[in-house]
């Protein structure tokens, strides 16, 4: 298994605070059966400006440390990019790049409101050669309120990554419900931990991938395989999918 979304690198964003936590997280991941873990520190313009090269350098350093401790777990560089109007320039400059220098870019938007130009940014990034993976769609307020909004992102060709924590319910009932609805409809290409610590948000994905299988038979196979395609920069094919609005009855709002 590969965990494609984690804030495991110590001290460079709001993830692991120090090397101790980092090592604890590595051990948890190893125990969970994760073979490779992708370090995706935040890239937020003006707040966390961790360029791809910096992350890659940091990852190399940490790789050696893991080896010294005798743990067999591969660390791969990536970024979680907070998209805004500067993202396209940053992508062209190479400050933001896909995971493992592939074309797959892990992206996020603000939680509370969707920017008007969100789809335009995605479109321009794709023209520039990126493939967009939208991180934790189930956590965005606007998707929770109106999930059919996600159809626009499907149409643009986005892939979707759901947090294992959302499926466990650590962010609340609504988010869990949304996550399950997405899985049921097959709008889930990856399940990742989005681990920030060794506590509740730790790098574990095995149980939640199994849980997803109960909701949508056959999905666990895809969820395990897709990350391998991703790190090798191979095409990930998705079937036609669309979320249909439930007919609203007047007494059942």
């Amino acid at each position: 298994m590969i965990d494609i979304h984690s804030h495991i690198l110590p001290g460079i964003d709001d993830g692991a605070k120090n090397i101790d936590t980092f090592l604890k997280m590595i051990k948890i991941a190893k125990q969970d059966g994760i073979e490779k873990i992708i370090a995706t520190p935040h890239f937020v313009n003006g707040i966390y400006e961790n360029t791809y090269d910096q992350v890659a350098a940091e990852t190399d350093k940490m790789k050696d440390m893991i080896q010294n401790y005798g743990i067999n777990l591969e660390l791969i560089p990536g970024q979680e990019v907070y998209l805004d109007k500067h993202s396209i320039d940053l992508y062209k400059e190479g400050k933001i790049r896909g995971i493992n220098a592939s074309s797959y870019l892990l992206c996020e938007f603000p939680m509370d409101s969707l920017p008007d130009n969100a789809l335009d940014i995605i479109y321009e990034l794709q023209i520039a050669g990126a493939k967009i993976i939208l991180a934790h769609p189930e956590r965005y307020m606007y998707f929770i309120k109106n999930l059919t909004l996600i159809n626009d992102f499907i149409k643009e060709g986005c892939l979707f990554q759901i947090n294992s924590g959302s499926i466990e319910g650590i962010f609340g009932k609504e988010i869990r419900k949304t996550a399950m609805l997405l899985i049921k409809n097959g709008i889930c290409d990856f399940i990742a931990s989005d681990a920030h610590s060794a506590g509740t948000r730790s790098p574990r994905i095995k149980d939640t991938i199994n849980a997803a299988e109960d909701y949508k038979p056959g999905i666990s196979d895809t969820l395990v395989k897709n990350p391998y395609f991703l790190i090798n920069n191979e095409e990930i094919n998705v079937k036609y999918r669309k979320l249909f609005k439930k007919p609203k009855l007047f007494f059942n709002k």
């Binding site: 396209i88 335009d120 479109y123 321009e124 023209i127 520039a128």
Partner: protein, 234 residues
């Protein structure tokens, strides 16, 4: 690969229909050459951008140097049809004083595309500005044909403004989409500004070819793959 039928299946009956539209436009006026053509419709989602994208290609195929301009500065879609960037376009050209050669996308196949650019707060003012007129006059010196894609005429005034500049206007109506009253209203609005309406394109028409055999005629010559829909020129 483009998703435009004239490019993808140039021999299909639908592409043939586009060429018919092209010919009809060419022959719609004997005295004045139709160089600046505006495509509009009464409401949204009737197929303006699809028609203008394909028509531009069809015109380019006949050897005319063609410029396609996305004048829909509100909900632009031309760049998506051609899968090109929309970071610089018409609005930047008008507002920031860029040159046409800097803003235009040379697509090849005899066609250049000017996308809408950054969405401005004042599209109507921009389109009615003198700068827009001078820009079009300059462009007409370089291109044989210019096609303007515009917002729906019933919704906003942009298409009316452009209709006063254009040599001719093509109104697109979607079969089963456009309400008859809306189409009448669109014609009224265009007549008010003394627009030269060349004709109406009936889009999204269900093919009845299998029933009456009319399609067979096309297929005999066209060698295209079988399609369920075709477009007609009225």
């Amino acid at each position: 690969m483009l998703d435009l039928i004239v490019d993808k299946e140039p021999k299909s009956p639908i592409s043939e229909a586009y060429r018919t539209i092209r010919t009809n436009i060419e022959f719609s006026s004997l005295d004045k050459e139709m160089k600046l053509i505006l495509i509009t419709s009464s409401g949204p989602q009737e197929g303006k951008s699809t028609i203008s994208s394909n028509l531009a290609l069809a015109m380019a195929q006949s050897g005319k140097k063609t410029l396609l301009i996305d004048c829909d500065l509100r909900k632009p879609t031309i760049h998506k049809k051609y899968k090109i960037s929309n970071r610089i376009g018409l609005s930047n050209l008008l507002a920031d004083g860029l040159k046409l050669s800097d803003a235009v996308f040379c697509f090849g196949k005899g066609i250049d595309i000017l996308t809408s650019g950054t969405i401005p707060p004042n599209p109507s003012e921009m389109l009615s500005s003198n700068k827009m007129k001078t820009f079009l006059q300059e462009a007409l010196k370089i291109y044989n044909r210019i096609i303007l894609d515009s917002p729906p005429v019933n919704a906003v005034t942009d298409a009316q403004i452009l209709a006063t500049i254009a040599d001719g206007v093509v109104l697109v109506v979607g079969s089963g989409v456009t309400e008859i009253d809306m189409a009448k209203r669109a014609k009224e609005l265009l007549d008010k500004v003394k627009a030269n309406i060349l004709g109406v394109v009936l889009n999204k028409a269900e093919s009845m070819g299998n029933k009456y055999g009319s399609n067979k005629y096309y297929y005999y010559y066209a060698e295209g793959e079988e399609k369920k829909r075709r477009k007609k020129k009225k």
